[in-house]
Subunit: 205 residues, 2 copies
């Protein structure tokens, strides 16, 4: 978050309600206007605050949208469906449902595009959005290894590489399917994807 009040600070505290209103207004504007036509003036008006209040809390459009989109990813949960295949399918379907929301599509792609020339922004995205998804991969993997569905690795470095690879394959495929190919990541597609991924991962090293 942005407005962390360090407890013992004197003066009037920042309104927590304003934070929530601004982030909600940002998502609303993303739905109606998209990334490029979204203006901070418009967000401020929707949220019922002054434009200057926005600039006191966020450095600019990029940072604001990252925070607004990051909240959406709080909904992601790792289901315990009994098998690794079912777990993957569940997570992928949740992720696909998120990417189906227009505020998520345009917001995420907008900030990712900006992050190609803004390292601090990329780091902010990583912490607020990417790591939150990656944790699901780590947990799901641990469960699957406990069940014996995946071969365990001795080398922790090898484990990190495999987790990274798995994550890039899952998230990348879903994003590419929905945003570039422009087709829905529905159950049929997810089943086919999970099958291919699982066969590749389950093979011994």
């Amino acid at each position: 978050m942005q407005s962390r009040t360090p407890a013992g600070r004197p003066g009037r505290p920042r309104s927590a309600a304003a934070d929530a209103a601004i982030l909600a207004a940002t998502r609303e504007a993303l739905v109606e206007l998209g990334w490029s036509k979204l203006t901070l003036q418009d967000v401020a008006t929707r949220a019922g605050v002054a434009k200057t209040t926005l600039y006191r809390r966020w450095a600019g459009k990029n940072e604001l949208v990252v925070d607004a989109v990051a909240e959406l990813f709080d909904e992601l949960r790792l289901p315990d469906a009994g098998s690794l295949a079912a777990d993957i399918e569940g997570v992928v379907l949740q992720f696909a449902a998120l990417l189906d929301r227009p505020e998520c599509r345009s917001g995420l792609m907008g900030v990712v595009a900006e992050s190609t020339r803004d390292a601090p922004l990329r780091e902010r995205i990583r912490v607020s959005v990417v790591e939150r998804q990656k944790r699901l991969v780590v947990e799901g993997r641990a469960r699957a290894q406990a069940r014996g569905e995946l071969p365990p690795e001795a080398d922790p470095e090898e484990t990190a590489r495999t987790v990274d690879l798995t994550f890039d394959m899952v998230a990348g495929a879903v994003v590419h399917r929905t945003l570039v190919s422009g087709k829905p990541a529905d159950e049929t597609w997810v089943r086919g994807f999970t099958k291919v991924l699982l066969l590749g991962l389950a093979a011994p090293a």
Copy 2:
């Protein structure tokens, strides 16, 4: 391309040199300024043409950048390295090299972000950029089936689904690796990725 002269048209023809200069200037501006700070005024100045000339040929920034980036994808070639694994690795490494160029990174992500709210733009990207990559998948797949490395499919609809899935997995993983995770898609990574993908695809239906 944009300025297609229908041959028998009277009047002064559009300068082909200007087209090339504008597209090159667009890529140059993408490198130095990135997607959001790129202005058509700046591109026009770099190309040595008037701003109005730009607006006569392209509807706006989105369309211009799509054309400028699409030219980069002409370089993609399907190597004949003897095995499917080597072919995939070759293509993926080429794709990774493209995404390593800043004009490709910011330009591509920028227009993809806009395309989430602009169906005609998405179609333009599909025709100019996506289909050009997808053809490599189709060709490589045909070769591999001729070599017996991949199981052939009787159902043409099933074939289309598999090609789509393969393409989304390859392109998606590379894009996510380089642009979201922010790590290089080097030979080590490509080898690991190809291994997982191939095991999943080679398995019988």
